[in-house]
Assembly symmetry: C2
Homo-oligomer: 336 residues x 2
DNA sequence: CTGAAAGCGCTAACAA
DNA sequence: TTGTTAGCGCTTTCAG
């Protein structure tokens, strides 16, 4: 048994037909006689034949693959989005190449370049730290669907996002409705999403006639930073009774600090997050949050992307999905 | 400007040299004059040239890619392992193709097949639900490195795992040392890892001279099942004071149920998990657990795999990593 | 140092 | 229905 990998050529020889017939048969063409098809399939099976995707992609001039760039895997919400992405892509016969490059913009660019070299037919960006410039440049080569952000748009770019500003307003209004007035905000740093959520916070506070400036603590969407921000908050403004934290992961970190400082959540302090991270809404944590339809967002993005791949010159689609207040166990009325 | 993608040929024309020189220059060969190199690089940049990975892989007879099959993304520990995998693979110039096929063995097989068609040079299995048979068959074609399991071995298969049985013993002994005697176990279902952990539990209970049979509740490694199992446990054996849960995700679910049933953790009930999931050891949850060096496991597996790719006929490597008791906040002495 | 030529495995006309 | 023939874009001898 020759240790060389069998090719379509070997299959043809073994089945006693020509190369091209094998190609046809294997991709299920109608114009192959039943006999030939059977012979070919048998030969392929016996040989343990595997089509070579690289060769096919070369000859075909298409890869049947889309690339997904994930900001990082440490925030589980990206895994949820990815689930949705894979569902739809798989169902449509597309392979998904997933890469993740840490939050470093430079590395993200090189990851993107790798995707492009693989000849992906389109790209999904799940959160990202790329410049508008980079995205525009890439979108010139391939259609792009961006999930969670909507600040970069272009003729070849679709977006799926929720309305972070409204979501944030919803969160703060909920706290206000519970009777809180000294409401703090731990931000998500210097990016569009974080800014929108912060703006929503400021909007809602202003509408409610509440003061807020001292209570905006910078964060960065990580749990550890949320932890430190909460410590800072309770030191600087111990009379604060509630916090809207920019995302769930940070909110979990914040809760840890709050409880370590001797305050019970929600009795002594209310916390509301943002995202709808599966684990956070798990009953153990029971985080009250603004829930985005994460899986659905993944599904929608691929759907749009595949449409654009088939039909490049359609108008860009900018979808907004609705987020919902998920009321759980981390918010309550202030103690007074 | 022609909308066709520029090829090496276009670059050559523009730089005024031959195709093959461009190829050499682009891969950094020494034997290209500085002038030519500069001209070629300039031409490539101006044209926005991207090498075609499919073509290269065809001509090269190697893809410089490894495939990773992840059981599913819902358990965050797999993301941690993946981090380690990507670090090493990236550093060695390998692309990682990540696929995930739900826990369904059939779908997992087809995901594997796709990886093979992409001509990956080796495969990493992060947990999996494949039969020994399938794995053996695949390992015939490509080297495989399996992470977390060690029940399938073969000449072309390396493994990296921790000693689940000892880890489980460590967990139970810790509970015993705190004074617990009515210690339950929520299992991880019907797979080697879960069985090993269960055996460890039984070992430790026996050594300590404690009864255990009524207190083994079947689980499946998910949070929701952990939740239900804990409910079941407290109904069937309300005098239980502690539980060793087969993994962290389930442990979180279990804690939710326990607290809902009015018991404080750790005051009224102790919980210890297994894995060292980043979020669980986060201070908010503060789960006491047996911590596996997840990132390191990912790194080791790729390292072994790449060695085997370079040097196919070496002895299979079966690595055991050490897990540690991570003492946090969910275990305490029994209430009496 | 450079260029011509062959071929990687597959698909897609086009003939037969 | 089947076989033949060109490539797809790139790497790699092998002569200049």
């Amino acid at each position: 048994m020759p240790r060389r990998k069998p090719t379509i050529h070997d299959v043809a020889a073994r089945a006693g037909v020509s190369k091209s017939l094998v190609s046809l048969a294997l991709r299920g063409s109608e114009k192959v006689s039943v006999d030939s098809r059977l012979a070919i399939e048998a030969a392929a099976a016996e040989l343990g034949y595997r089509p070579n995707a690289a060769a096919r992609s070369l000859a075909d001039r298409r890869s049947r693959a889309i690339g997904v760039l994930v900001l990082d895997f440490n925030n589980p919400i990206f895994a949820q989005i990815l689930d949705g992405v894979q569902q739809v892509a798989g169902a449509q016969g597309y392979n998904t190449l997933i890469v993740t490059g840490s939050a470093d913009p430079i590395r993200q660019e090189s990851e993107l370049a790798r995707l492009l070299e693989f000849q992906v037919e389109g790209i999904i960006l799940i959160a990202h730290r790329l410049t508008a410039n980079t995205i525009m440049r890439i979108s010139d080569e391939r259609p792009i669907a961006i999930i969670t952000r909507r600040d970069v748009t272009g003729p070849n770019i679709d977006t799926v996002s929720n309305d972070d500003r409204s979501g944030a307003i919803m969160a703060v209004e909920y706290l206000v409705s519970l009777g809180h007035s000294r409401i703090a905000h731990i931000t998500g740093g210097d990016n569009q999403i974080a800014r929108d959520r912060e703006l929503g916070y400021l909007d809602a506070m202003t509408s409610a006639g509440l003061p807020q400036h001292i209570n905006v603590i910078p964060g960065d969407f990580t749990d550890s930073r949320g932890y430190r921000a909460a410590q800072e908050l309770l030191t600087a403004a111990p009379d604060t009774t509630a916090a809207f934290v920019a995302n769930d992961l940070s909110a979990l970190g914040a809760m840890a600090a709050i409880e370590e400082l001797g305050r019970q959540v929600p009795e002594d302090f209310s916390v509301i997050g943002y995202d709808g991270m599966a684990l956070a809404t798990l009953r153990t944590l029971n985080l009250t949050t603004v829930q985005q339809p994460l899986i659905e967002m993944g599904r929608l993005a691929v759907t749009n992307l595949l449409k654009r791949i088939d039909n490049p010159n359609t108008q860009p689609v900018e979808m907004r999905v609705d987020s919902q207040l998920h009321i759980a166990g981390t918010c309550g009325p202030p103690k007074t």
